[in-house]
Amino acid sequence: MSVFIDIAAWVCLVAGVSFCIIGAVGLLRMPDFWTRAHAAGMTDTMGAGLILLGLMLEAGLTLVTVKLFMVLVFLYLTGPTAGHALFRAAHAYGIPFGEAALENSKLAGRSDAAE
């Protein structure tokens, strides 16, 4: 039984770390601030979630798991909140969205109006 839990923990940790590294690569590859923010968000949700899940599986039903779970809850509460503060500040400061984004948004606005 514990072999299965070990394997599940391995899978979770490796998958979580992979998502972290993919997000970091995205941080380097993406062209502007707004698209980079999507890549960074990925490491905070999936990367952190899977790594902590893997650690929880290893810890079993103990107080350690409770603490890991609270770390996860705090990360998921503070992550988007701090992110929103950052995006709002960047938006107020006037970080450009890029030509393509604005062009596309007009189309999106029109399809909204048609609904």
Binding site: C20, A24, L27, L28, I51, V64, A85, A89
Partner: protein
């Protein structure tokens, strides 16, 4: 038996992510790009502390991770406020209206 424990693999991966985040923070170009990268670096530090606790057999380090999440959040907000207003004491509502 596997040559590496799962915690060593996770730790290596997290360190690589942190390194790339640092590169992104140095690269910028705007202060918001840097803040984004530093925020990500902070979250990865939390994960690093948690994994290091398991690796060294010191699960009580999780308390540090818990505190670090909260400090990281408050730090991010404080730096943002400083970047936006130049000090930490201004009133959000007055300055933005």
């Amino acid at each position: 038996m596997l040559p590496l424990s799962m915690f060593e693999v996770a730790m290596a991966g997290i360190l690589v992510t942190m390194l790339i985040a640092l590169v992104a923070a140095v690269r910028g170009p705007t202060v918001f790009d840097r803040l984004l990268a530093i925020n990500m670096f902070g979250t990865k530090t939390v994960l690093l502390i948690a994994v290091a606790g398991f690796l060294m057999g010191r699960p009580e380090w999780l308390d540090l991770a818990l505190v670090y999440v909260l400090v990281n959040f408050i730090g991010a907000i404080a730096v943002l406020k400083f970047v936006r207003f130049g000090n930490l004491a201004s009133d959000d509502h007055e300055a933005s209206s």
